[in-house]
């Protein structure tokens, strides 16, 4: 049993649920890479959204200023989060809503189950929600005998296909039309057996299936894109209108929202409504934005709940360098431009949050020391495309490097036997921290030429370096380094400066 010191604040709890890798990223990635269908679907989809986004972003002369404004608002929210949460709770409650606080996935699931039970309903309809994915709500409800129906088209495809979302905006991005038709034919009750892969026909099939759900469901569960502290208002931004049906038709509405989604005032929403649709779907404005503030007598759900979810967010907030990952508005722009995501797809990241943001958010929320997620910060070539695309300017490459540093340090602390990588880095530290050392090492260059042989190429190296030579040659090294050439041949009147501190 661990001791509790009275008067010491507890460390923030790490998150649980669908945030953890079950196998190291490189292994999962290598497997997904072999899926040609997935790769061509992904390539097509991400490149299409990429181009659309660039076009609509270029229309705004003040895009950079908007990004700065978004980033500044989020920073102020993080600095003032406890007060904003309390303000939100007071206003939401005053308008007839009920607020519940959940520390982790298990608490959130238990609260929601209780709320559904209290209505006596056996079925709930759902608006697409990252937070409920994160806590594994559907699976939990199923074990409790409650059926949850996803109403977002892509989310429905994933659910009917007994699959997991692989993209936060386009959860079924890894499926093509024909695959969708096959899923509908096999799994959708009452579907037209002559269904083709025509998009209009597919949408029609989903529409008639969902319509019956909307009209009979008494309970809806939603996520929220924003919560406005000053008025206690919640907002859902969507494209299909299914969200609006869920938010207005049922008697009971339960919303699950991460604590970081707050905005101080209504006016702040303006900035994000310009940033979000352009960054996510490449549209100037999304088709449906629903806002609700507590209960309106005789109109819409009369029983309105909000579950405020921590699940590792305060742990992320406690990381000074990593905290800005919580600025994320889940637009998915970073994954659409990421060369790694493009080739592996979302499943390789193991978490509800894939792509560049997932590579930092999941370890921040679960703790890099926990080992499950410590391969995620390395799932990037640090090309920087994500940072360029992010509408709230999260410096993802910098946070990746920060988390790599934490990972290396935490393994150091555990005194594990040094890995090949550790030894390589130690050796390189010796070589790279002195010109004399590097110069000595370079005296060995002719040996490399010997290894390269007649072809002047090195085609196979042992150990860790084999990971390189598996698919790339190394040219034969030169007979002498530049340093040597300079010392011997360069015009002597150009003085070589004497540097102090050489070992």
């Amino acid at each position: 049993m661990s001791k509790v010191f009275i008067g010491m604040p507890p460390l923030p709890a790490f998150g649980s649920g669908n945030l953890n890798l079950t196998e190291p990223f490189p292994r999962a990635a290598a497997r997904e890479l072999g899926n040609q269908q997935l790769r061509s679907n992904l390539r097509h989809a991400t490149h299409t959204i990429r181009d659309k986004r660039l076009k609509v972003v270029a229309e705004l002369p003040d895009w950079e200023e908007l990004r700065d404004a978004g980033s500044a608002i989020k920073e102020s929210v993080m600095a003032d989060l406890p007060a904003l949460l309390e303000r939100f709770e007071a206003n939401f409650t005053a308008r007839g809503g009920k607020v519940h606080w959940a520390r982790d996935a298990a608490e959130a699931n238990a609260i929601i189950t209780e709320l559904v039970r209290a209505t006596g309903a056996q079925e709930v309809v759902k608006v697409k929600s990252m937070a409920t994915q994160e806590i594994g709500l559907n699976e939990h409800l199923e074990t409790e005998g409650i059926a949850a129906f996803e109403t977002d088209l892509a989310e429905l495809i994933v659910q009917l296909g007994h699959d997991k979302p692989s993209h936060i905006l386009v959860p079924a991005i890894h499926k093509n039309r024909t695959q969708v038709r096959d899923i509908f034919l096999a799994e959708m009750p009452g579907v037209d057996p002559d269904l083709t892969n025509d998009p209009a026909m597919l949408a029609g099939a989903a529409r008639s299936y969902l319509r019956s759900k909307f009209l009979t469901a008494r309970v809806a569960i939603s996520g929220a894109n924003f919560g406005i502290a000053d008025s206690g208002t919640l907002a859902v931004v969507e494209s299909e209108g299914n969200g609006r049906m869920c938010l207005t038709l049922p008697e009971t509405l339960i919303t699950v929202m991460g604590i970081e989604k707050l905005l101080p005032t209504f006016a702040d929403l303006e900035v994000f409504m310009a940033l979000l649709p352009r960054s996510s779907t490449g549209e100037r404005m999304n088709p449906y934005t629903s806002l609700w503030t507590g209960v309106t007598a005789g109109d819409g759900p009369q029983d309105v709940h909000l579950v405020l979810l921590d699940n590792g967010r305060s742990a992320a907030l406690a990381d000074e360098m990593g905290r800005s990952a919580l600025h994320c508005i889940r637009c998915s722009a970073c994954m659409n431009v990421c060369p790694v995501y493009e080739r592996t797809g979302g499943h390789a990241y193991g978490s509800t949050y894939p792509g560049p943001i997932g590579a930092i958010l999941s370890p921040l929320m679960t703790g890099i020391e926990a080992e499950e997620n410590n391969s995620l910060p390395y799932a990037s070539s640090l090309c920087g495309a994500c940072f360029d695309a992010c509408p709230v300017k999260i410096n993802i490459p910098e946070i990746l490097v920060h988390l790599r540093g934490k990972d290396v340090d935490s393994r150091r602390g555990r005194m594990k036997p040094p890995s090949q990588m550790d030894l390589l880095m130690k050796g390189a530290q010796w070589a790279f921290s002195s010109g004399t050392h590097l110069g000595l090492l370079e005296k060995g260059l002719p040996l490399g030429r010997l290894a390269a042989g007649r072809s002047k190429k090195i085609k196979h190296l042992p150990g860790l370096a084999a990971r390189w030579t598996d698919s790339r040659d190394i040219p034969a090294p030169p007979p002498a380094s530049f340093r040597d050439w300079w010392a011997k041949e360069h015009v002597p009147e150009a003085p070589i400066t004497q540097q102090g501190g050489e070992a």
């Binding site: 080739r343 070539s381 790599r404 540097q499």
Partner: protein
């Protein structure tokens, strides 16, 4: 001007001709080049791999080697190394609470330039053929390299210089802004993904029909060149500095495909 050359570890050990070309270009313009002998590496491999404790002595070494006031500006033929000197060195100093080192690294960063940046912004080179005598009568394509493009915001500096070389034909590379998949130890840690990225880069280079891919970052060129070579492609890579240094009298090597007669 007195210009300190930071050759970078890869260029120093693997591509000395790129550093020699850098020296030649700048000397041709009448500048005096010095080579601070204590230099070794910028440390980005350590930093980007999370080995920050190991990176610290490397950063300190660079600050010692380039800390003297005996030069006006420093130059490196590599965008990623310059980005590391400018952004990562002060970050490491801050991390270890070393205010003195932070001040020194910030000052060094402020006067360190990537080659095309120095040529364009400081030395006013807009026409390589006229101002440098650059001549390279071959078809080339060009890969922009992520760190130069995104961290240093080099924009079209390298490409514009390349286009102004005498006799050259520059063919646009499809998806030029896409990462080649090198990423330092990323190529080892996530070798399969890195190779898949490289395969696309190789395919795009081949589609241009150019026998040569030019670029400003030796590490990316090592990676891309290794991929081209492994796939049996006639195309190779060559650093921008060598093309700029190439003249009628002293030409840089022609693309392999031309030399071997593989292409007419």
């Amino acid at each position: 001007m007195r210009i300190a050359l930071f050759a970078t570890c890869i260029v120093d050990a693997m591509y000395p001709q790129t550093a020699q070309a850098t020296v030649r270009i700048l000397e041709r313009l009448g500048h005096e080049i010095i080579f601070p002998a204590g230099q070794a590496c910028c440390g980005q491999m350590h930093i980007n791999s999370g080995y920050l404790d190991e990176a610290k002595p490397v950063v300190e070494n660079h600050a010692r080697a380039f800390g003297a006031d005996d030069y006006d500006v420093a130059v490196a033929p590599s965008g990623s190394c310059v980005a590391s000197v400018k952004h990562q060195h002060p970050m490491i100093a801050r991390r270890y609470g070393d205010a003195g080192l932070e001040e020194r690294t910030t000052a060094i960063g402020a006067r360190t330039y990537e080659l095309s940046q120095l040529l364009t912004d400081v030395l006013g080179i807009t026409d390589a053929a006229a101002q440098l005598g650059s001549h390279y009568p071959h078809q080339v394509t060009y890969h922009s390299s992520c760190h130069g493009m995104r961290l240093l915001k080099l924009e079209d500096r390298q490409l514009d210089l390349l286009r102004s070389v005498g006799g050259i034909e520059v063919t646009e590379l499809p998806e030029a802004d896409q990462c080649c998949g090198f990423g330092g130890t990323f190529a080892l840690k996530n070798a399969e993904v890195s190779s898949a990225m490289l395969a696309d880069k190789v395919r795009n280079i081949e589609s241009t029909g150019a026998g040569l891919c030019a670029g400003g970052d030796a590490s990316c060129l090592l990676h891309i060149g290794g991929g081209l070579s492994r796939s049996g492609s006639p195309a190779t890579t060559l650093h921008l500095a060598r093309i700029l240094a190439s003249t009628m009298q002293d030409p840089a090597p022609a693309p392999e495909s031309l030399r071997s007669g593989a292409r007419a």
